[in-house]
């Protein structure tokens, strides 16, 4: 990548940092002690995780009857939460793979934590699949180990089986991508370690990274190969998730736009979650010079674009449901918007389509409080989207005598709230023990995008030609 940059581009590292200061700033949370805010957050998360363990154990021990599911609504919060978490898990790989291919330099300050978020979110998603199986001790049945079970071979025609493949592939590639990116940074911490135990652990974690030219060359090559592999995965995972619904013949589920529309929605929700997390992280860990308002602005732009794509998809679905002339299709959508679940539908519409349009205003995109508020709104909206798709399409069956409503029990609600603990416990540990910013990679833009380079550029008589 060239170091020459247009004068239009703002600095990505502010505060006139030197290389050494960058290392210091990013290693500080790992080398120092946690502050009281971290401990407070960690205690609350641990309590939530404990609650998750209790609720899941109760479900497994007693049976799925402790949930609010009924004959008509056989999938509700379980799959809603599964899709919600998988969706959140999309931003990390989008940032690390697709934005790498597009050579977006601003990804460098946010990719590490977004990838960590991806991994923990996919774990949360998988937990809902296992929990809703009813008999989690046979959770290995969807794997094609069929020769061990006599004639019982998994049904390869089932999108549920495709899902197992899609998500496990996505998880493994994301994990490898994330971990390999961490190697040079672990080595930095290893080399700076002052205590024996830190030296020991970071030596183990850094896989003998020595920072030679050969190391870096292999690192770059591997990043590109992994980016190439993950790019189709970003699209395929949520496409396959959408096919869990779209291959059926249930009105409201069967629609061909689902795969790309789910992908757009996933990126939308993923970026909202990245915003929620990073706005807190930059404040608590003092990373304002690395995660600048420009970074937040760029993420807000992605949110407004993907939110609008989702909006186009909502309108398309609604229009084609009418256009098709199929009365069941039309009814499914009219029922969504005006039936007993109208509040869920309009929450979704307001949170996902209408309110993100405010981000067309540059002023609001660069407002921290507003961005934080919006990121929560989008997370809520995307949860409602899945709830609307799943429950409103099911609850009024073809036969009116089977019409039913769904209400969750405390157990389901507990598992959902608890899953936030399952997510935040590892994420908080990550912020303490792993460098939250990919410092070695970040230094590759040191000569093109720091505030001192930008000052030089402004003063230079040659206009925007710097380091040419």
């Amino acid at each position: 990548m060239s170091n020459v940059e247009s004068a239009l581009r703002p600095a990505l590292i502010t505060g006139d940092k030197t290389m050494h200061q960058i290392t210091e700033d990013i290693c500080r949370p790992i080398e120092g002690k946690a502050n009281k805010y971290w401990w407070m957050a960690f205690s609350v998360s641990c309590a939530a995780l404990l609650w998750w363990i209790i609720c899941v154990s109760y479900t497994v021990g007693t049976g799925l009857g402790v949930w609010g599911l009924n004959k008509t609504v056989g999938w509700a919060w379980d799959i809603t939460n599964f899709v919600w978490w998988v969706g959140i898990g999309h931003a990390g790989t989008l940032i690390s793979a697709i934005l790498l291919l597009f050579r977006q330099k601003w990804r460098l300050s946010i990719n590490r934590s977004a990838e960590a978020m991806t991994i923990f979110a996919v774990i949360c998603a998988a937990s809902f699949i296992v929990a809703h199986m009813g008999r989690p001790w046979v959770a290995y049945w969807p794997l094609p180990l069929a020769n061990q079970f006599g004639s019982l071979w998994v049904n390869f025609n089932s999108p549920l089986v495709w899902d197992v493949f899609a998500i496990s592939t996505y998880f493994s590639v994301s994990l490898v991508f994330w971990y390999s990116g961490l190697l040079p940074d672990f080595a930095v911490i290893r080399d700076r370690a002052k205590t024996k135990s830190m030296k020991f652990w970071y030596t183990l974690l850094s896989f003998g990274w020595s920072g030679t030219a050969k190391n870096w060359q292999r690192f770059e090559e591997m990043s590109l190969v992994l980016a190439g592999l993950s790019t189709p995965l970003v699209l395929s995972v949520h496409s396959v998730v959408s096919m869990d619904f779209a291959t059926s013949i249930i009105p409201g589920w069967h629609t061909t736009i689902f795969p790309p529309y789910f992908v757009a929605g996933a990126i939308f929700s993923g970026f909202a979650m990245v915003q929620t997390l990073l706005i807190i992280v930059r404040k608590v860990l003092g990373m304002e010079d690395y995660i600048t308002m420009y970074h937040i602005d760029m993420m807000n732009r992605i949110i407004v674009v993907t939110g609008s794509i989702v909006g186009v998809a909502y309108i398309t679905e609604f229009f084609i449901a009418w256009y098709s002339g199929v009365e069941y299709e039309s009814y499914a959508f009219i029922n969504r918007a005006t039936g007993p679940y109208w509040w869920a539908y309009w929450s979704m519409m307001t949170c996902n389509v209408i309110s993100p349009q405010l981000f067309w205003s540059a002023k609001l995109r660069r407002n921290l409080t507003f961005t934080f508020f919006m990121s929560i709104i989008v997370n809520i909206g995307m949860w409602f989207e899945r709830f609307v798709i799943i429950v409103t399409s099911l609850h009024r069956d073809y036969v009116p005598s089977s019409w039913a409503m769904f209400s969750p029990t405390w157990v389901e609600m507990g598992i959902f709230i608890g899953s936030l603990g399952l997510f935040f416990v590892p994420f908080l540990l990550f912020t303490r023990f792993f460098p939250v910013i990919a410092m070695s990679e970040l230094k590759t833009i040191f000569h093109s995008s720091t505030s001192q380079v930008k000052k030089q550029q402004a003063e230079s008589k040659k206009g925007d030609l710097v380091n040419g």
Binding site: T247, I257, V312
Partner: protein
Amino acid sequence: MKNIQVETTNATYVFSGRSKMICFILMAIGIISIIAQFATHYEQAWANILHANFFFMGMALCAAFFVAVQYVARAGWSANIMRIPEAMMTWLYVAMPVMIIILIAGGHHIYHWMHDGITDKANPHYDSIIAGKSPYLNMPFFYLRLIAYTAIWCWGAYMLRKLSIAEDTEGGNSNYFKATKVATFFVILFAVTSSTAAWDIIMSIDVHWYSTMFGWYTFAGMFITALTGMAMWIVYLKSKGHLEEVTEHHLHDVGKFMFAFSIFWTYLWFAQYLLQWYSNIPEEVVYFRTRLDYYRWPLWIAVFLNFVFPFLILMTRDAKRKFFILVFGGTIILIGHWLDNFNMIIPGVLSNNHSFHWHIGLYEIGTTLGFLGGFLYMVHSKLASAVLIRKNHPMTVESMHHAI
């Protein structure tokens, strides 16, 4: 803040007499094919003209989309190749009026829902499904929408080109920022109109059928043709000794786009096919059933040319940097998407006339060559009317140093 003035070599393009001659010959072939088709009362005639016009309209429209996205995304690498899509998008000024003429003059031969009395209960040809769609599919509203598309798309192309040329002489960044605003509005309007236009012009041919994916699927195909067209124009201009500042690195990036969007198109094609095949709902599956029964060769050859072929030959880094591969591969991709458009348009028109006897022969190819001649003429003359590398573009410095 002052931008670099680029001293470009060979930046003036001259539309040579020989090139003009070629364009006129192609147009003549087109006119003869069109006249011959009508003279022989050929049932595919109107559909062929629609097919050819839609193909180049899509290419021009997505060239405008490409230009707009470069502004909105603050792209730097592409600054030196912008004049090419900026020339391609001006074909919209011709393609859209021609589209309106085709659909006014030939609409009845293309769209079953335009037939007289089809929404009239008393009429023996009454069709309740079409009657249900008539609040949307009726002639006044249909033509009104076409006029709206024409206005929006031509406005976008006109403004983006005007601001780009003004920047050459005026300098500064104000035109760039103005163009960014125009581009943002254009992208928003494009997001809606590209889908609705695909429903109107193409999906309503198979009037009983519906697919929510259709708009995005049509867009994916159009976008590849625009990217491929750009790659081929770069190669052509470079082979004539122009565009020295555009290097193999730029070509590599355009090649990557061709590769990536070929896969994206396949993804949408496959998802649409899979979901309708899987659910096997009669109203939906009839669309692919017709094509599998009567259009098997065009269907599978299109998938092969649009997916397997670009996937294999554009895979490597070196391939995306070679003139020959880009031109050869590009030709195949263009043929593939032309064939895909054939599959989207012709089966519906013919089955509306209770026929499955399709042809791809001199009439079809001749019509397309005619539109190709017009398109090439427009692009040649627009390339000749402004310097080939934009002066004063704030991103020029990045494009000059682009290395991957």
